[in-house]
């Protein structure tokens, strides 16, 4: 304490000496804030002033882009934020931007990290620094959005430096360090800052942020890339074709850069500590002075274990907690030093390396200690906290109890085990649920399809809507969709006319999440989920297996199955490549897209289908920005260009029109090939309307010709509803005025943007009308 009663911390610097300062008064001006890990990453990004951010939303890291979007709308930073078409695309955007010599940021989690993985060794191997924040999360499948380290462990071999941030303060601080470390002339490597998804990403804590822009700028310095792709006076070849004998030398250089990083990281962290007063040794050793037993954990769980260590110390037990601030390079020397006199250590891995008999951290700790012939530390390994299972004090207590027992008896009874898995109760049987749907129950001729002899095109006659209510639902009630959700009317209408056996694949998205929350399912027919990068390819494979097993006579009863993939508009961004692949191969299947104009499952980020100017959480509205910057993707026309037998648009607000198209879709998917349909689907939560506004909003979208209802049948375009012809054409503003996400567009400041939206809607509509009236289009 100072004479004024302020708490003082003493910060030891690895380069020698120490810094003393009262909390809240660092060597540069700082101010207190209350933020979570994602917000801390966003604040650091703002303060660092990255040039470009390439990103793709994924839980739980999305909030970084959302926070930056909000700040950008207020004019608080000028980072160029580029929404990728997926994480692979985002990583490409980042790589390209980084080759341009400026500072680059990306943020991701889980599948996103794995989807970007291919690009990571490229970036490291060609020695192009950038910063990637990872809010760590379980990898699929089955899909789990909560936190563990299974994504992070895949990055260990990519050549990226990996810093670990145990709390929001560390997220903030280590981002500054990451820039300097990666750009150091002896290192020149990309840097990943990892923090625990939800436990850190979504937990608000007290932290201090820099309040002295000049001092931060001085610390960060100019980017200073030795070569860039933007200097025509010095042309450079990046990424040559390099086989043996050269590649091994490139990797030797990379390993040397990692070795250099072992020196540079403590230097940079020490320098940062002189600004902040906060100290990050590469190995965080808590109460390890004379410890005979240690628990080793990465990130947030280590903090929980410290609480328990304090209690045990108070009881006279010699225990400590070890955690790493740098995972790559791995601090082997520091670990050996620290464990010289430790009798036993329990290493907790928040991910398994299945079949290895140890998690990755345990393997690396063992390997590090094995290099010290004098070391006799006993190692226990526990796999814990998978899929976001909480780590309570009681869990840490058990870890300490086990490791103290090993230390006392001088041997390990159980070297490797899962902690927190549940065996189950054999007496428990699940309730039966609703019976499966048999083909004959749903083959009632609700839509009669006939082929016009002259044109070869199809005609559909529908039974009245009341009759359709007798068709049993392939999807059960009790799902977790939001009140008013349009996805279920879309499914219900489609299922009312689809006949016979149906196998569906839902790509990741709202419909998938709300119908299959384990251990229950809403589906009464066979349902598959695959990640939305790849649903269409998965369905292609299943279709071909069906056809081949039918040919070989292996399917009992020779079922006549229709295959349908259901996706959101987001899935048609990240999954566009495989969907076009399936379309080009013309597999016999339906792709049904419910278009609610954004990534609604993750909190309404923009998709490419989001119309221009609309407010989403990554296209915020403020003084400096007005919603999404570019026009909506015309997905039906993209599929039409694949020359499919049938492409359509529809709206859940026009059930008869939609159901006629679904009946045609089934006819074509069973006989001719792939069908794509886009259905405008109401989302009151994120369109910011009341739950019961569907009819008016959908009608206005259609009457304003923003969302034309049409079909392209064997290459022939037909408008199935023409607002001009029935005198119902309205300006786009009529539609935009009905939703909270677009009301700002009617203000006087946005007149130009509104005109641009109106013009684009009209241009696309006129084009369609010409096609409608033309025999050959």
């Amino acid at each position: 304490m100072t004479p004024n009663g302020e708490t003082v911390v003493e910060a030891k610097l690895e380069t020698g000496g120490s810094v003393k300062r009262p909390v809240g008064q660092g060597l540069i001006r700082q101010r207190a804030d209350f933020r979570n890990g994602n917000e801390a990453a966003a604040l650091a990004a703002r303060d660092i002033g990255f040039h470009v951010m390439g990103y793709f939303p994924i839980t739980p890291s999305t909030e970084v882009a959302e926070t930056l979007s909000e700040m950008q709308a207020e004019g608080a930073h000028d980072i160029v934020m580029v929404p990728g078409d997926g994480e692979h695309g985002a990583a490409g955007i980042c790589y390209g931007a980084a080759l341009g010599g400026g500072r680059v940021l990306n943020v991701t989690s889980s599948q996103g990290l794995l989807y970007a993985l291919e690009q990571m060794p490229v970036q490291a191997g060609t020695r192009v620094p950038m910063v990637l924040n990872v809010a760590t999360r379980t990898i699929s499948g089955p899909l789990d959005i909560r936190g563990d380290h299974s994504d992070l462990y895949f990055v260990l071999n990519t050549g990226w430096i990996i810093l670990l941030a145990r709390d929001p303060q560390a997220v903030y601080d280590l981002n500054f360090a990451a820039v300097r470390i990666g750009e150091h002339k002896d290192v020149r490597l990309p840097v990943l800052v990892a923090y625990d998804g939800f436990f850190t990403s979504h937990q608000k804590r007290r932290l201090e942020i820099f309040d002295d822009a000049d001092a931060v700028r001085a610390f960060i310095g100019p980017p200073g890339a030795p070569v860039t792709a933007l200097d025509p006076t010095r042309p450079v070849t990046f990424g040559p074709y390099m086989n043996d004998p050269d590649l091994i030398n490139n990797k030797m250089q990379l390993t040397e850069a990692m070795e250099a990083a072992k020196r540079v990281i403590p230097e940079v962290l020490a320098e940062l500590a002189t600004l902040s007063g906060r100290v990050y040794p590469v190995v965080d050793a808590y109460r390890m002075e004379d410890a005979e037993a240690a628990v080793v954990l990465l990130n947030s769980a280590a903090e929980t274990a410290k609480e328990v260590a304090d209690r045990l110390r108070a009881e006279g037990r010699r225990v400590g907690v070890v955690s790493l601030n740098s995972l790559r390079p791995f601090p082997g020397r520091e670990i050996r030093e620290l464990f010289k006199n430790v009798r036993a250590a329990l290493v907790g891995d928040r991910s398994d390396s299945y079949g290895a008999g140890n998690g990755n951290l345990a393997l690396e700790i063992r390997a590090a200690l094995q290099q010290d012939a004098e070391n006799h530390t006993l190692i226990l390994n526990r796999i814990y906290g998978l899929g976001g299972r909480d780590f309570y004090d009681a869990d840490a207590e058990q870890f300490f109890a086990e490791v103290l027992e090993a230390a006392a008896q001088g041997s390990v009874d159980t070297p490797f085990a899962y902690h927190g898995a549940y065996a189950g109760d054999p007496e428990k049987k699940p309730p039966a649920g609703l019976p499966a749907i048999a083909a004959e129950e749903v083959s009632r001729g609700m839509a009669k399809v006939t082929q016009d002899e002259k044109s070869g095109r199809l005609k559909v006659e529908l039974e009245p809507l009341w009759a359709m209510t007798a068709v049993p639902g392939r999807v059960a009630p009790g799902h977790g969709g939001c009140p008013g959700c349009g996805i279920f009317p879309v499914l219900h209408q489609a299922y009312s006319v689809l006949e016979g056996d149906l196998v569906v694949l839902f790509q990741t998205g709202c419909a998938m999440v709300v119908t299959t929350a384990y251990p229950r399912t809403s589906h009464r027919i066979t349902y598959i989920h695959n990640l939305f990068q790849n649903g269409a390819a998965t369905m292609s494979g299943l279709v071909e297996m069906y056809l081949e097993r039918m040919r070989r006579g292996e399917l009992p009863g020779s079922p006549d199955i229709t295959f349908m993939m259901v996706t959101g508009d987001g899935g048609m961004d990240i999954g566009m490549g495989p969907a076009l692949g399936a379309a080009n191969r013309n597999h016999r299947m339906i792709i049904l897209e419910y278009d609610n104009q954004g990534y609604m499952n993750t909190g309404a980020q923009l998709s490419y289908a989001t119309p221009m100017g609309h407010r989403t959480s990554t296209s915020e509205v403020g003084e400096a920005k007005t919603g999404k910057a570019f026009h909506h993707k015309d997905t039906p026309q993209i599929f039409a260009a694949c020359h499919l037998p049938y492409v359509f648009t529809a709206s859940e607000g026009y059930p008869e029109d939609f159901m006629r198209k679904v009946a045609k879709a089934q006819w074509y998917a069973k006989r001719r090939g792939l069908v794509y349909g886009k259905v405008l689907s109401f989302c009151p939560l994120n369109w910011r309307t009341t739950d019961d506004a569907a009819e008016d909003v959908l009608q206005a979208a259609i009457d304003s010709c923003f969302f034309p209802l049409y079909e392209v049948e064997k290459g022939h375009t037909t408008l199935t509803y023409d607002p001009d012809a029935v005198g119902r054409r309205r300006p786009v503003a009529d539609w935009l005025g009905l939703m909270g996400k677009t009301r700002h567009l009617l203000g006087p400041d946005n007149a130009e943007r509104l005109e641009a939206i109106e013009n684009e809607a009209d241009r696309r509509w006129r084009r369609l009308k010409i096609m409608h009236g033309h025999e050959g289009l």
């Binding site: 708490t7 209350f34 979570n36 959005i145 625990d196 979504h202 937990q203 608000k204 007290r206 947030s300 929980t304 780590f391 309570y392 898995a421 065996a423 189950g424 109760d425 054999p426 428990k428 699940p430 309730p431 039966a432 649920g433 609703l434 019976p435 499966a436 749907i437 009245p464 809507l465 009341w466 009759a467 007798a470 999807v475 059960a476 009630p477 009790g478 799902h479 977790g480 969709g481 939001c482 009140p483 008013g484 959700c485 279920f488 009317p489 209408q493 709202c510 999440v513 119908t515 299959t516 229950r520 399912t521 009464r524 909190g603 859940e652 059930p655 939560l685 739950d691 019961d692 569907a694």
Partner: protein, 333 residues
């Protein structure tokens, strides 16, 4: 900074848990409260919520952990032994998990209309303070959300919090995000501070309530491998009553022409139809009612009804029991 703030317990955190469904503002309220505690009251604190993907109407819990300024907060685990539980939706009181772990001398604040004491309160500690406020009604009257009302009640009822400080924090937050909503939220907050009632002598339990950490249905020795689900349509066992926020659609059978349009618009698949002459196309199908177990109260059926046969009514106690028409009476209990 207010130096007079002191926590009731030196040796542990002061912890709060908000029990709600998505859309009522529990997360936002927790954030405003915890931010004020840290940045305006000089405490250390943590705030986080437990919810999955971004859905309205599904259960969420929001947690606040407060300590002295120099007390580090390290654990990131959920609050299991709260000093205060605030219930944002009356129907949640029927779940024992809602009040699990409440400390013997803790405080329960819940939203509900005045009058009869709701079921389930006997499971509270005898020594707990139990507070009721009709946050739903006040919020509707003030064009605010229940969170503003409940924050007001919390500010007034829990000694640790200073009412003016929290009101200022609430107003500043709205001034930043939705300036047009400042006045209505201030009014809702003020009524929250004034219009609550303390219900005496409702709890029957001695001591702290036990923590509930339910086991999952399946374990590794019993679950089918690969995460497959073999029982079709099992969400029919879910009860979504708590997704409604005080209103439900009611069918007037006399006005219904059984056209089927509501069925095409209903997201919850909860309309009950009776077919006559069933195969394959029935001769007639009649709408006979609504299974409120699944209805989330979106009112799209009302919007789409051409004859006004569906109307929006307040969900008064006993109404569902009186009107409910089960979809699967033989299958789901």
């Amino acid at each position: 900074m207010d130096d007079t703030v002191s926590l009731p317990h030196k040796d542990r955190f002061f912890e709060l848990r908000f029990e709600s469904i998505g859309g009522l503002g529990a997360h936002a309220a927790g954030q405003i409260l915890a931010t004020a505690a840290v940045l305006r009251m000089g405490l250390n604190g943590a705030h986080f919520s437990s919810y999955g993907s971004e859905k309205k109407g599904s259960l969420i819990k929001s947690f606040i952990r407060l300590g002295a300024a120099d007390q580090p907060i390290r654990t990131s685990a959920p609050v299991e032994s709260p000093d205060v539980v605030v219930v944002f939706h009356g129907a949640l009181l029927s779940h024992p998990a809602t009040v699990a772990g409440l400390r013997a001398n803790g405080t329960l604040i819940f939203t509900g209309p005045p009058g009869e004491i709701p079921d389930g309160l006997a499971r509270l500690p005898r020594t707990a303070t139990v507070i009721r406020i009709d946050a739903q009604r006040i919020a509707a009257e003030e064009k605010s959300r229940p969170n503003a009302v409940l924050t007001g009640t919390l500010a007034e009822a829990v000694a640790l919090f200073d009412t003016d400080t929290l009101l200022q924090a609430l107003s500043d937050e709205f001034a930043r995000k939705r300036p047009e909503a400042v006045a209505s939220n201030e009014a809702a907050f003020r009524r929250g501070t004034a219009e609550f009632e303390i219900l005496p002598d409702v709890g029957r339990v001695e001591d702290d309530l036990p923590i509930i950490r339910p086991d999952p249905f399946w374990g590794y020795q019993t679950a089918p491998p690969g995460g497959i689900i073999l029982n079709t349509g099992s969400t029919a066992w879910n009860d979504l009553t708590t997704s409604r926020t005080g209103w439900l659609p009611v069918l007037d059978i006399e006005k219904c022409i059984h056209c089927g349009m509501c069925d095409m618009a209903c997201p919850d698949l909860c309309l009950v139809w009776t077919a006559e002459g069933n195969q394959p196309v029935p001769t007639a199908v009649k709408l006979s009612g609504i299974d409120y177990r699944y209805c989330k109260g979106c009112m799209r059926c009302i919007e789409t009804c051409p004859t006004g046969a569906m109307t929006r009514e307040a969900e008064t106690p006993g109404l569902v029991a009186q009107l409910n028409k089960p979809l699967f009476p033989q299958l789901v209990d």
